[in-house]
């Protein structure tokens, strides 16, 4: 009786299997995570039991074909038996498509910037892309980046929506060019610079010419009032508190991606792997404590012979190991 009462009131999982089932819920919250941690800490065997339960569940994979008929009955596509066989789309798949569409709408609503006017240019996660705008300005998009471009008669407006972009602005003193990022606007007439979104806000690197960073739109007559001016060779960080002070830094190294290479000067290997990981076609996992301690100076080409990982393997003091699930583990050599 006491057991039954406890079962009624205490819905906390007790076994590795219970926790494995709980951790697959869509709404795992901080309380569940804390409870899970408490359970793991309660007994030194619990971690091993959880991992065994997980491994056993993964080991069932070969049974997929055996249950193909059941899965088909449940409205899903049957197990993938032959390659390239065209199958009619089932109702379940159509429902999946609807769910995806609903998700896309939700994302758009949550991020109103995506609905702003102009043309969207974007690059895929592994690709650096060159774009020439209608005014002759050249833009290089870093991998997994997006800009929205709206060239009107009074102001050439670009919004950096994701990642980083390098600009070579076609000179036109009458029509200012501005790049909006992280609540600020970089206003220029003709110049070369890089803007990047970061976890804490954004960054502007000025390579040549002059730019002003302002909270106001370039179409506003007072746009440059209170603006921060940058000189070539300076970097400006943008945070939630607004722009900081321009700093004299090496602006070529952090913006070398625009020339399809990554440059590192006495950088920890872990940083090199993290930076290169953005351009690899599969996840690179730093899997060695020594990586952070080894420092390297290297130029890593992002294009050329072989895959990026192969080039890294040749150039850097690392060893590369591919896991069965397609990730690349990187360790110090």
């Amino acid at each position: 009786m006491i057991d039954r009462l406890t079962a009624l009131f205490d819905r906390r999982p007790r076994t590795a299997e219970d926790w494995l089932a709980r951790m697959s819920r869509p709404d795992v919250d901080a309380r569940d995570q804390d409870g899970f941690l408490a359970w793991l800490e309660a007994d030194p065997d619990h971690l091993a039991r959880y991992e065994a339960a997980r491994a056993d569940s993964l080991a069932l994979e070969p049974l997929r074909a055996m249950f193909a008929a059941d899965l088909a009955r449940l409205g899903q596509r049957p197990a993938r038996t032959g390659a390239g066989l065209a199958r009619p789309r089932s109702r379940a798949l159509a429902a999946g498509g609807l769910a995806a569409a609903a998700l896309a709408v939700a994302v758009t609503l949550a991020w109103p910037m995506l609905r702003s006017p102009g043309e969207l240019y974007r690059s895929s996660p592994t690709q650096i892309r060159d774009v020439v705008l209608a005014d002759g300005s050249r833009v290089t998009l870093d991998a997994d980046s997006a800009i929205r471009v709206d060239l009107s008669d009074d102001v050439r407006r670009v919004g950096l929506e994701r990642g980083a972009a390098y600009f070579e602005v076609a000179h036109d003193a009458a029509v200012p060019f501005q790049v909006a990022l992280a609540d600020q606007r970089v206003i220029v007439t003709g110049t070369r610079f890089v803007t990047a979104l970061t976890d804490t806000g954004g960054e502007v690197f000025l390579l040549e010419g002059r730019v002003s960073v302002s909270a106001r739109d370039a179409g506003d007559p007072d746009a440059l009032a209170g603006a921060v001016r940058l000189l070539p060779g300076q970097r400006l960080r943008l945070t939630a508190d607004g722009p900081g002070r321009p700093e004299q830094v090496d602006v070529e190294t952090p913006t070398a991606w625009r020339k399809r290479r990554l440059v590192f000067r006495d950088a920890p290997l872990s940083e090199v792997v993290a930076a290169a990981g953005r351009y690899a076609d599969r996840p690179l996992v730093v899997a060695d404590a020594r990586l952070a301690r080894t420092r390297v100076t290297a130029v890593l080409p992002l294009t050329g012979q072989g895959t990026l990982v192969e080039r890294m393997d040749r150039l850097l003091p690392i060893s590369v190991e591919t896991t069965t699930d397609g990730r690349t583990l990187i360790r110090a050599e």
Binding site: D32, L37, S57, L63, L74, A274
Partner: protein, 168 residues
């Protein structure tokens, strides 16, 4: 949040947590690095909800192992016994051949299939959709007309039955 940002946050949290538990700063850095390695090696995923608790307990275990090793080291030095550290069993060789392993695996799979077939129909269907179609609990709940909590109970029950059959 980007994967790098997720890792950076977890690293910070882990360092604070381990330091509070009494770790020396230099050791804590190493322990955190090793914890991520161990985590990935075990096939865990950073994007999974169990990632944070798992990383924490893995790091905690590594910290304990390190403390144990350090006190062993102190003893070793005082005993001046150079061979003590190498004496322990490092790797335990498996005596079964690869062919035996495959046979065992086939037998295990056949037994697991029988257990799944013997589950109550809804429990079986929920587990099949979860395991082989990678549907979310919400999708499974909608498909079977039950609550999300019920789906969790079905999946847990299936996992328990599978474990019971394995342990005989």
């Amino acid at each position: 949040m980007s994967p790098e940002a997720v890792v950076a946050d977890l690293r910070r949290e882990l360092i604070v947590w381990l330091t509070r538990k009494g770790g020396a700063a230099a050791d804590v850095e190493d322990v955190v690095q090793d914890a991520f390695l161990r985590f990935h090696r075990a096939g865990h995923r950073l994007e999974s909800p169990d990632a944070r608790p798992l990383l924490f307990v893995i790091a905690r275990n590594l910290q304990h192992d390190r403390w144990k090793a350090e006190s062993r080291e102190t003893r070793r030095r005082s005993d001046d016994d150079v061979h003590a550290l190498d004496a322990g069993p490092r790797a335990i060789a498996s005596e079964a051949s690869p062919a035996d392993d495959r046979l065992i695996q086939r037998q295990n799979l056949a037994a697991a299939a029988a257990v799944i077939r013997a589950l109550p129909p809804r429990c079986r269907d929920a587990f099949l959709l979860h395991r082989f179609e990678a549907l979310t609990y919400r999708q499974i709940a909608a498909r079977l007309g039950v609550s999300v909590s019920m789906v969790e109970k079905y999946v847990a029950e299936a996992l328990r039955q599978l474990k019971k059959s394995r342990e005989g």
